[in-house]
């Protein structure tokens, strides 16, 4: 049972296409496990359909349809075949994330750089957004840290608790700039999550908790 969902504003940004790449990835990955958000995004996309139907029209040159008809028989670019995903990868990574990674869990290049968790960077955008997978050991306390930007957290497996509640598999946490939290990882399974940040994440003494902050 999923209890924590993305805020409406973020679902709307996903539906309209305004979401940056990392935010869109984490929202899509949540939706793949959450029926209520899937339905909400469907409704928000329906508003886009109606707006398109009622939209102001632009001038369409006479050459456009014949040019298009010519192209109908062009062979479509064949997408690269998906690799064979093993059972653990299928269990942990919903389809949008698997497609984004294009590899199995075991092939990811995990690093432990700050002592609190293992991480692998899975996306960087020119807007300074960074997507990471984090693997936290059971019972590991992550020291209190604050966010200069936003942090979006999707629990892929296991769970944690913080000041805002309990987060289990599928739950979506949102931290706004300036908010501090002190997550405590579950004792039994640890916590495996997809995190997107758009600014530095700092311990209270000012050191960076996520390595190599490329936006600095």
């Amino acid at each position: 049972m999923i209890r924590h969902h993305p805020p409406l504003e973020l679902l709307m940004e996903y539906a309209t296409g305004a979401a940056q790449q990392g935010a869109a990835l984490v929202v899509a990955t949540h939706i793949a496990r959450c029926g209520s958000c899937a339905a909400e995004v469907g409704r928000l996309e329906a508003a886009g359909g109606v707006l398109l139907h009622a939209a102001g029209t632009g001038p369409v040159g006479d050459h456009l349809l014949p040019a298009l008809l010519e192209r109908l028989d062009e062979p479509a670019l064949v997408p690269e075949p998906e690799p064979h995903f093993d059972a653990e990868t299928l269990r942990l990574f919903p389809a949008p994330l698997r497609r984004h990674l294009g590899c199995n869990l075991a092939e990811l290049d995990w690093r432990r750089t700050t002592g609190f968790f293992e991480e692998v960077v899975v996306g960087l955008s020119s807007q300074g957004e960074k997507a990471l997978l984090l693997k936290l050991q059971p019972g590991c306390p992550v020291p209190p840290h604050s966010h200069i930007g936003h942090e979006l957290i999707l629990v892929l497996d296991g769970g944690y608790s913080d000041e805002y509640g309990r987060y289990n598999r599928g739950d979506f946490g949102t931290l706004c700039p300036g908010e501090v939290h002190n997550p405590i990882v579950d004792d039994d399974n640890g916590c495996f999550c997809l995190v997107v940040v758009d600014g530095p994440v700092k311990l209270l003494d000012g050191t960076d908790i996520i390595s190599d902050p490329s936006w600095i």
């Binding site: 709307m12 869109a24 793949a32 398109l52």
Partner: protein, 183 residues
């Protein structure tokens, strides 16, 4: 054209690569897609390319259209949204295919036909026409110009809270908000 008419054109393309049906669909959507592209600030050549890429995807993906999940206009909106991101940002927008979402328990899946039939779409079109101008304006900026709430607030010199509340009011009026008031 009604959704049922549009749907039969898509089905004709899917079933027997019907070029006549494609031309009809083009006459309906190309001017709207062109308007959509121009509104986003694209020049005419880029907007034309967006129309071409979108209509080509409609031709190629007609067999995947699922009339129980979306109306034709909604389906084409999601295609042009993704193509616009491909073209302008050179990125592939992460898509969700509910067929692959095996983890969603069947009881929690979006109901088939939820907002996907013609009657609902007509009701939604009617409700859209009754929106106050200031609410419609922010919705259009969100959907046509893919602007975040923050970007809309900055551009319109409005407090962020005002933009958020106009969007919420509009969505509530269109009955597009989660029923249980989640979030």
């Amino acid at each position: 054209m009604t959704n049922d008419q549009l749907r039969s054109l898509i089905e004709a393309i899917a079933a027997h690569r019907d070029r006549g049906a494609f031309a009809e669909l083009f006459h309906h959507f190309a001017p709207r897609l062109m308007g959509f592209g121009l509104r986003r600030g694209a020049d005419a050549a880029t907007a034309e390319e967006l129309v071409q890429e979108t209509m080509l995807a409609v031709w190629r993906k007609a067999g995947t259209f699922d009339a129980t999940r979306a109306t034709v206009s909604t389906w084409i909106f999601t295609i042009v949204r993704n193509k616009r991101i491909d073209m302008l940002r050179r990125q592939t927008y992460p898509e969700v295919d509910l067929e692959e979402a095996a983890e969603i328990p069947s009881g929690e899946r979006p109901a088939d036909g939820d907002l996907a039939n013609s009657q609902d779409e007509v009701a939604l079109q009617d409700a859209m026409r009754t929106l106050p101008a200031e609410q419609l304006e922010v919705l259009q900026k969100a959907y046509f110009e893919d602007k975040t709430h923050r970007a809309i607030a900055d551009e319109m010199k409005l407090p962020l809270g005002t933009v958020k509340s106009r969007i919420r009011l509009a969505l509530a009026r269109l009955r597009l908000l989660l029923p249980e008031g989640q979030v």
